[in-house]
Symmetry: D2
Subunit: 328 residues, 4 copies
């Protein structure tokens, strides 16, 4: 469904080629200074216009419809909307009969009996992540002590990301990427077992982001190859600092005060200029397909700020739950 969170809650709406996309945020404390300008640095990090990103460039200026009064949050729900201005829906007519490989076209048509808005992926578009970034901005305002940084550390299997993107552009193809997120200055004790462990909530949101295929915390997949004596992090002082950080800052689903570390695998954008084949449901046969529309060669370039937002959103909700229960 379209909502996430227990106290600091978000609900997502919109379609790529509809009137707008956006987010409804519940649980913001009253009194937080909030202006459109506060959102721009984060939205700009997500924005197209970089090398390898789609030529569809939207303003992405948020409209704060509710929940802010006289420059501060008022305590009522915040509706933030991003109008879709630069759409070319005619690019998508073919999609109805011939679903694009790697996209949601086929499943959306089946699930919604053919009534889904297929233009630009509709509700499945990466454009929906604008709302996540906007909610992340509010989360960071509520929980400012967090120091969150996500970086693209590899693209198309290469560390030189510029070069990898150049190659992809040249070949009319797209490439995947690996993003690492590190969070410092987290209090010990956030996370609510059994089900609302820190990893569970981060994972829930990470896999809601289009194109994510993998997620690991701390030692991650490497841990499967390790022994306990290699893996165990030894506590070395009374703050709980550990010598190593295979745990990635979390034990038993609860933050342990060390750096929280996770990595996310992003698949290559499904839309590519290269010719592909797909099934034509009108003519019941495979046919050649050249995907129209305007797309990213490496969507992972624009993803780090979304990952950071997810971390902020989850930790803010967990902070509120924890202080709600324990009152400290």
């Amino acid at each position: 469904m379209n909502s996430f969170g227990r106290i600091f809650r978000l609900s997502i709406f919109g379609e790529s080629h509809g009137i707008s996309v956006g987010v409804l945020i519940d649980g913001c404390p009253a009194g937080i200074e909030t202006s459109v300008d506060d959102f721009m640095p984060y939205l700009n990090r997500r924005k197209a216009g970089k090398k390898g990103s789609t030529p569809r460039i939207e303003d992405d200026i948020p409209q704060i419809i509710s929940g802010v009064f006289d420059g501060r949050t008022s305590g009522s729900p915040m509706l933030i909307s991003f109008p879709n201005n630069n759409t070319r829906s005619s690019d998508y007519k073919e999609v109805k009969n011939t679903p694009r490989p790697g996209h949601s076209d086929f499943v959306a048509q089946k699930k919604y009996n053919g009534f889904n808005d297929y233009r630009g992926g509709g509700h499945f578009s990466g454009r929906l992540t604008l709302g996540i970034v906007a909610a992340g901005v509010m989360a960071k305002k509520i929980f400012p002590q967090l120091n969150i940084q996500a970086k693209l550390i590899e693209a198309g299997g290469q560390k030189d990301i510029d070069k990898a993107v150049d190659e992809a552009l040249k070949s009319g193809d797209s490439i995947g990427g690996l993003i690492e997120c590190k969070i410092n200055n987290i209090p010990v004790g956030l996370g609510e077992p059994f089900f609302d462990k820190v990893e569970s909530l981060i994972a829930h949101l990470i896999f809601a982001i289009p194109a994510t295929k993998g997620l690991e915390f701390g030692s991650g997949f490497q841990s499967a190859k390790m022994t306990g004596s290699q893996h165990n992090d030894i506590i070395i002082n009374k703050d709980g600092e550990t010598k190593t950080n295979n745990a990635g800052g979390i034990n038993g689903g609860i933050t342990n005060g060390n750096e929280l570390v996770f990595r996310v695998a992003i698949k290559p954008t499904s839309s590519i200029q290269k010719n592909q084949k797909s099934y034509d449901f009108n003519e019941n046969k495979l046919k050649d397909l050249s995907v129209k529309g305007r797309h990213d060669a490496c969507i992972a370039i624009r993803t780090p700020v979304i990952i950071e937002s997810i971390a902020a959103i989850v930790l803010t909700d967990l902070l509120m739950i924890h202080r709600g229960i324990q009152n400290n």
Copy 2:
């Protein structure tokens, strides 16, 4: 918090050395034949007693406290309880002052101001997964067409798992493992974007299981190194069957009818016989620690049935939501 699911819902309770652990299941249809015997094959797969598993062996015979009448589900909530019979709590006295490396001892003590039940990990024990397996049994009864199989495909970095466990036992150490889960015979169209995508819900539960460090769907982390033309799965017939399955059976967070595939990285058990160091919070210094209690050399041996249960639980809830909305 301790609940998960929207219609088919579970709530978890209990501590490793308390009276019992178990699960409260909501949303079971009435009229499903249910007996204790139905649970045993699944519980036995999770049970200790195999090579490399803990010498603490519990009966693990479920007590069905409510929700079943005359051998069938009655439509009211099912409480299933597993008494703890074979406990040796004296093993755990040291834990309070000297948290075991890799365990939740330190964070639990901080989060709960020292009032947590520390015996055998308390509520953080792997024993809590009994409830997940029990709920999985009910899910499989509700959605019997699903064909779900999880397997340990690697342990300690080796394919010969028997050998890997022998080596770990010999060295008084533990090893991690990699589990692959494959699900066939899934209808197209399960999954509820934006937030309740199939991957999001599976990930939420997977990371609630102690010792999980990584999760990937289909091509997973490999996708980060691929190009779009390599990664895109071509639809080859009108059922939506694809030539390759890099998507792992999911597009846009919705099942596409192909095999659903995911892999889970399990870290090595934190409790090992080998000597380790930890911080003594009484004496404020590092000290030698030999972890008492009875433990697994490779917990990943017992995990596949838990992974299968998670898949069944998530898909059953999504089935109910989908037919609730679309009435088909």
Copy 3:
């Protein structure tokens, strides 16, 4: 918080004198014909402009921002917005220091540390019920067999409601009212004990509507004075039809197929032209207050369509849950 419902879910946003108010609806099946015109008859029933209603008249034409494509629901969340055009915020400056009797001014200021949008009641305005009516329209489309009718059966203690309103207008005062809602053609079996009984969910929403002070089902408060032999409804045929309907169509929290009946008490509008007193928090003393702004003499005239919407919303969600679980 700002969301309600399990599958058919609504989230409310906006303030009386902000940019707009509205609703975000989740869980609409795809393929339902939906146009702005469909909403107008219901919105017009709620609209001002009748005798005894506020001179602030808004167009109340819904903007369907998302979730509808080519004239039909697309299966993605529906955002419906109602712009606020006719505002006179200057009327409300005094409110900050001298809260209006009977209004939320005092509590909102305390709860939100003075940062609440106080203009026209802000998020507490009756204007927020527009979103409820809009969601009710969708619910009625999803569950069209329901026959729901709510009527104002008494105002200011009189059956002649026209006369009661005239008297109130003449005296510069306001009056309360009693609304009865009857629903026919409900299937047997809706309602999800223990907590999501039909009465519980209807009550939850009814008391979210500003100005509601009481709610009773079937025999209601009269039942407290009755004996069991008077009160028990005798089943007279195999459809479960009963001779009397003291139960109001519900047993054990579940619809029994008979007419569902409930009554709602609406208090008199708090804003009146007559002089009143209130506390001046600047000068720390009681002072005379003449409430500005434009208001209703009998808000209960506009409430029946809101009550009907609530019934439709609750029964639609319960229908979806029931068929999700029982698949029938």
Copy 4:
């Protein structure tokens, strides 16, 4: 469904003639002293054995299965169970074919396709309220400043309740009752609009209690007959104290610091000794029915402690949400 609450959450389970009934409580802070003795005074107020109450007398001694360690809450979920010892299930065989008037027998059979546990009402039994009382005890420990008192103020239409019960017993009939609940010492600012207003949450739980037919806050149904100038409560000092209390301590769904007042109408127990008629679904005709089993002549005598528990549960959850968000 079987759960209620956002942070302080309860889930209910069990059937009247099953193994046990009880409650699973989530969100208890760690460190609260908790023993079986703490529950007994409240459970005894709900217990049978008074004049006019059922001859089925259960011990009603709670078993605390999880969540308490060394005499204090541990921060993990609390499972509290009440075994059913004194059952006579043979009394209920007739129910399957001939549903008892006023009971859930008919609807439960329809909803659950005949698989419901019909013995003593099964999951619909008033016995399920034991869990509510137990959760209320924990709520009162968490939020001890609340002063909550509910009283039966009228039974069968009479103020002399003793006399009313005597008459009912003599005639083999049952009577309804009216309960008033008053809560003092509540902080200003609890309640979360739009949907989680204080009245909405109290109403949700009140109508989950079997036999409740009506609920009103403050002036309640009387308000429908009043004018605004009569109804408005004038604030008389800077604490927000009001001259009158027609609001019942709540404005805009938020506590205003004055006494919170509500009244609940309880219908007469459906089971009576007097002969009645009901429909025989085997023979398809009306027949005489004498309800077996052991029952209350005035269930409202045992209800006040349940009402108090509901008030405590709701206000505790709202306190946690409020301090989670506003951090004050």
